[in-house]
Symmetry: C2
Subunit: 140 residues, 2 copies
DNA sequence: AAATAAATGCAACAATGTTGCGATTATTGT
DNA sequence: ACAATAATCGCAACATTGTTGCATTTATTT
């Protein structure tokens, strides 16, 4: 139920010292209900007509949610960030899958790569960004 | 010597059935001379004042070089493609490093990940895109 | 209910890349 | 060397995604 997610969303926002505005709650509820990582545009489309937000407000709300570590965003090759709620599985580093057919992005559970990557001398490792590309079950 | 690269570039272009225009040759020579993967903008800046190209022409030349497999392009989190000449090392799949300080991108030699990634049932693997982020020797 | 800081909406801007189309040019054949 | 031709180029216009400044509104606290 989306109402359930609304409640959870509001809690999460308050626990992080932010104002529980309709916009933030709605956005986070959408991301909590979503299996995949979705774009700014897709979030906009899922918002009920009654409470459409300004583009900029949506961007800023997402920025805030990322800062507070409630969601994470994923780089893609189509120049559009995709956002996804942080669940237990995804609190740490993980890889992503992107379908080259329908452009959907899902989070993969693990990041089966050694964190100690062989870098040139003097370089310092910070993090790995890994996207597996292929076809999803629908597009196969 | 950049002239040497010009000669090589012209050869590579002709061998692929394309017209050896000053623009294409200049671009490919720049990419051959460059260690790192560089952006459209950076290529533009390296072109001699005498033969500045239209932005669109530059984009289309790069597109053609990628099609012909003479160069490859790299996705980044700043929404700008970066281009690099295909050498032996990079003809196959490989990972990239991006410095979070100065934004430089270099190609890493290997891709120490199994090509057979554990995907959900019904999904088909195509390729891996992997970027290691960190600080380069200068920015450390 | 008033005070206050946080969040919002609007307009303007920036960066990167794409498309259509007429003009130019590299290449080929004579 | 010259003409024919298709490939390439340059320009203008557009698209998408995201950012910044600032005045207005609103959630929260007192
Ligand atoms: Mn994820
Ligand atoms: Mn590379
Ligand atoms: Zn798909
Ligand atoms: Zn650096």
């Amino acid at each position: 139920m989306l109402n359930q997610f609304h409640h959870t969303a509001e809690d999460m926002i308050r626990h992080n010292g932010g104002r529980a505005t309709a916009g933030r709650i709605g956005i986070l509820a959408i991301l909590l209900a979503e299996q995949q990582a979705i774009t700014h545009r897709e979030i906009e489309q899922r918002l009920p007509q009654a409470q459409q937000l300004d583009r900029v407000t949506l961007y800023r709300a997402l920025e805030w949610l990322v800062e507070k570590n409630l969601i994470h965003k994923v780089t893609s090759d189509d120049r559009a960030w995709r956002y996804h709620a942080n669940r237990e599985l995804h609190s740490h580093q993980h890889a992503h899958f992107k379908c080259t057919g329908c452009a959907q992005v899902i989070c993969l559970d693990k990041l089966p790569v050694e964190a100690n990557w062989p870098l040139p001398a003097g370089y310092r490792f910070q993090e790995i960004e890994l996207t597996v590309k292929g076809l999803c079950a629908n597009c196969c």
